[in-house]
C-alpha cells in the first residue's frame, strides 16, 4: 500500500471507528425491515410488489435464520422455509 493510500485508509478508520457499532446496528435494522417486506406475502400480508419481491427470496435465504431469531421467533414462522 502506498503512503497516500495508507494515509487515506487511516483517515477512513479515524472517521468510522467511533461510530462503527451504531452504524452497523442501523444497517442491520434497515435490512431487517427489507427482509420483512420481501417476506410479507409469505407471512400473509398482501403486497402489491409481491411479484418482484418473490425474485429476491433466494437472496435473503441465507440471512433468514438470524432474522427470525432477532424478531423474537425461536423457530421459522414459515412452512416453506424450515431452517430450524
Amino acid at each position: 500500500m502506498g503512503r497516500m493510500a495508507g494515509f487515506a485508509a487511516g483517515l477512513r478508520e479515524f472517521y468510522y471507528a467511533p461510530y462503527r457499532r451504531t452504524l452497523a446496528r442501523a444497517k442491520r435494522d434497515e435490512e431487517d425491515l427489507f427482509m420483512m417486506l420481501v417476506l410479507s406475502e409469505s407471512l400473509g400480508v398482501p403486497n402489491p410488489a409481491g411479484y418482484y419481491t418473490l425474485e429476491l427470496l433466494p437472496v435473503v435465504f441465507e440471512n433468514f435464520h438470524d432474522w427470525h431469531r432477532r424478531m423474537g421467533m425461536d423457530h421459522s414462522p414459515l412452512d416453506s422455509i424450515s431452517c430450524c
Partner: protein, 570 residues
C-alpha cells in the same frame, strides 16, 4: 518568566513521564503482555470488537476525552497563580491521569472489554454498579448544564464565533451527505470541510451576530441556552451518520490544527507570564487552594470520565495489549498538553498584571473567556493573525469542543435514564427519555435565575464528582493489582489523594452552599458526599478481601472470568 521556557519545561516533564514512568507502569505494574489475546482479537465481530491501528485508536480516544473541561478548569484555577495550576497539570498528568487511563484500559482489556460499571459490580461489590449509575448521571448532568452556559457566554461575549459555531453544524451535515450519499473520497471531504470551517471563521469575524438584550422575554444568554438544548436534543435523536459522526470527525481534525496553532504561537512570540506565580492577592470569596485546586482542574490532571471512554469503546479495539501504553497513557498526555496550553494562554496573554487582575476579579471569573482573550493575544503576536480573528478561532474551538461533548452527553444521559428505567421495571423509548433528560438539565440550568447561570454554579461540583468516578476506577485497578500481588502504591497513592481531596472539598462547599442558602446545590453536594463515602467504604472492604485471598494467577483469573460469564447468562 518567559512562557516558552515554561511550555518547554512542562512538555519535557510530561514527555519524560511518558518515556520513563509509563514504561515502569507497563512493565512492572500492569505487566503488559504482547502475546495476550486482546478482546478485539478474541471476540472480533467487525462491529464492537475490531483490532485497530494504535495511532488511529489514540486519535479518537484523545478526541473523545478532550472536551471543554481541560480549558474551563485550568482557566479558572489560575486565580491562585500559574505555578500551582502548572504543577498540578504536569504532575497530575504524569502520576495520576496516565496511570488511571492506562489502568482503566488494562482492567477492561483483561475482562473482555467490559465497562468500568460492570467491573465495579464484580470487584467493589453489588452496590458498585448502582453507585456507578448515580455518579455517571450526575457527571453528565453537570457537563450538559455547564457546557450550555459556557457556550452561550462565548456566543454573547464573542459574537464573531456565532456564524462559525452554527455553520459547523451545516458543514457536518454536508460532509455526512457527501460521504454517504455522494460517495466522495474522505481525504477530499476532509480538506473541503476544514477549509469551509476556517472560511466560516473569516466570515464570522467580518459579520459578528449580536443579539438584542431580550428576545421573546429571554436574555441573550438564556435564549442561546434554550436553542442549544433544542439543538442537542434533536442531534441526539438523529441518525449518527447525519450529524454526530461527521461533526465529531471534523472537530477532531480542528482540535489538532488549533492546538498546533496555539503552541506554534507560544513558541514564536514567547510572551512573559503576566499572572503572578502565586497569587497572594486573591479576590474576596476565593476558596482555599487546598483542596479546591485539585477539584477545579479535573480534566487535564485526572478525570474519571476517561475511564468510561477507555473501558467503553477503546478497550474493545486494542490490537495488542502493549499498545495500551501509547493509547491510554499518551491519550492523557494529549489532554495534559491542552491544559498546559490553557494555563499559559490565560497567564501570558495579558499586557499587564492589572489587566489580568481585572479579568480574575472573583472566583469562577476568567474561565473560557480568559482563554479566548489571552490565547487570542498570543496567537496574534506569534502568527500575526489579527487579534479579533485569533479570538474567533479559539472561541470556535472551545464552542465546538463543548457542543460535541454536549450532544454526545445528552445521548449518553438518555441511555443512563433508560437503564435506570429498566432497573425500576419500565421501558422508556428514546423520545420520552430525551425529554426527561432535557427537562432535568434545563431545570437545573435555570434553577439560579432566568439568566440560566445555574449550569455554571454547579461546575465546582463537577470536579468532585468526576474525581469520585476516577476513585471508583482506581479502586478496581488497586483490587486487581493486590490480587495479582503487583506493586499497588502507584494506584493507591492517587486513589487516596483524589478521594481525600474530594471529600474535604465537598465539606468546604457544603458550608458555602448552606451559608448562601443554595438548597439545590446543598442537596446535590450531600448526594455526592454519600456516594464518595460509599466508594471509600466499599473500596477498603474490597481491598482487604483481596489482601486476605490468595494470589491470583492468570489461569485462576481465566477461571473466574468463565464463572462470571456463566453467572451473567444465568
Amino acid at each position: 518568566m518567559n512562557s516558552v521556557v515554561l511550555a518547554l519545561i512542562g512538555i519535557a516533564m510530561i514527555v519524560a513521564g511518558y518515556l520513563f514512568y509509563s514504561k515502569f507502569l507497563a512493565k512492572k505494574v500492569y505487566a503488559l503482555d504482547p502475546d495476550f489475546k486482546t478482546p478485539a482479537h478474541e471476540l472480533e465481530d467487525g462491529i464492537d470488537y475490531v483490532p485497530t491501528n494504535k495511532y488511529v485508536l489514540w486519535g479518537h480516544h484523545f478526541t473523545s476525552v478532550a472536551g471543554a473541561a481541560p480549558i474551563v478548569g485550568p482557566a479558572i484555577a489560575v486565580i491562585w497563580g500559574w505555578l500551582p495550576a502548572l504543577l498540578w497539570v504536569t504532575l497530575g498528568t504524569i502520576f495520576f491521569a496516565g496511570m488511571h487511563d492506562l489502568g482503566a484500559l488494562w482492567a477492561s482489556n483483561r475482562h473482555k472489554g467490559q465497562s468500568i460499571g460492570t467491573l465495579a459490580g464484580r470487584y467493589i461489590g453489588r452496590h458498585g454498579r448502582n453507585l456507578f449509575l448515580v455518579v455517571i448521571f450526575l457527571v453528565l448532568l453537570m457537563v450538559n448544564a455547564a457546557f450550555a452556559v459556557v457556550i452561550s457566554n462565548l456566543l454573547v461575549t464573542t459574537p464573531t464565533a456565532v456564524i462559525p459555531a452554527w455553520g459547523a453544524v451545516v458543514v457536518a451535515v454536508l460532509i455526512g451527505q457527501a460521504i454517504y450519499k455522494l460517495k466522495w473520497s474522505l481525504p477530499v471531504v476532509s480538506i473541503v470541510g476544514v477549509v469551509a470551517l476556517y472560511a466560516l471563521m473569516l466570515l464570522g469575524d467580518a459579520f459578528p451576530i449580536i443579539l438584542p438584550d431580550t428576545i421573546m422575554g429571554l436574555s441573550a444568554n438564556a435564549f442561546w441556552i434554550v436553542v442549544l438544548f433544542l439543538y442537542a436534543g434533536i442531534a441526539s435523536l438523529l441518525p449518527v451518520w447525519m450529524l454526530l459522526q461527521p461533526r465529531d470527525y471534523i472537530n477532531g481534525l480542528q482540535l489538532f490544527i488549533a492546538l498546533g496553532i496555539l503552541y506554534a504561537a507560544i513558541i514564536i512570540s514567547g510572551p512573559s507570564m503576566m499572572a503572578p506565580a502565586f497569587n497572594t492577592n486573591v479576590p474576596e470569596g476565593t476558596p482555599s487552594i487546598v483542596p479546591l485546586l485539585f477539584v477545579t482542574i479535573a480534566c487535564g490532571a485526572i478525570s474519571g470520565f476517561h475511564g468510561i471512554v477507555a473501558s467503553g469503546t477503546t478497550a474493545k479495539q486494542l490490537n495488542k495489549e502493549t499498545d495500551a501504553r501509547f493509547v491510554g497513557y499518551f491519550g492523557a498526555v494529549g489532554e495534559g498538553l491542552l491544559a498546559l496550553g490553557t494555563v499559559i494562554a490565560v497567564s501570558a496573554g495579558f499586557q499587564t498584571v492589572a489587566a489580568w487582575e481585572e479579568v480574575y476579579s472573583a472566583f469562577g471569573e476568567g474561565g473560557v473567556g480568559a482563554f479566548v482573550t489571552g490565547g487570542g493575544a498570543i496567537v496574534n503576536q506569534g502568527l500575526g493573525i489579527p487579534e479579533s480573528l485569533s479570538g474567533t478561532i479559539l472561541a470556535t474551538m472551545a464552542v465546538l469542543f463543548a457542543a460535541t461533548t454536549m450532544d454526545t452527553g445528552i445521548r449518553l444521559q438518555r441511555f443512563v435514564v433508560s437503564e435506570m428505567g429498566q432497573i425500576a421495571g419500565f421501558r422508556l423509548k428514546p423520545l420520552p427519555a430525551t425529554l426527561i433528560v432535557l427537562v432535568i438539565t434545563v431545570g437545573l440550568t435555570f434553577s439560579a435565575g432566568a439568566d440560566g447561570s445555574g449550569g455554571m454554579l454547579i461546575w465546582p461540583l463537577f470536579g468532585t464528582t468526576n474525581q469520585i468516578l476516577a476513585g471508583l476506577t482506581l479502586s478496581i485497578v488497586a483490587v486487581m493489582l493486590i490480587r495479582k500481588r503487583r506493586p499497588v502504591l502507584p494506584a493507591l497513592i492517587p486513589l487516596t489523594f483524589v478521594l481525600v481531596m474530594s471529600v474535604i472539598a465537598l465539606f468546604v462547599q457544603m458550608g458555602q452552599f448552606y451559608a448562601a442558602g443554595n438548597w439545590l446545590l446543598l442537596v446535590l453536594d450531600v448526594i455526592i458526599l454519600i456516594a464518595a463515602i460509599w466508594v471509600i467504604i466499599e473500596a477498603v472492604t474490597a481491598m482487604n478481601r483481596a489482601r486476605r485471598a490468595g494470589p491470583l494467577s492468570d489461569l485462576d483469573e481465566e477461571r473466574e472470568n468463565i464463572a462470571a460469564d456463566a453467572d451473567k447468562r444465568g
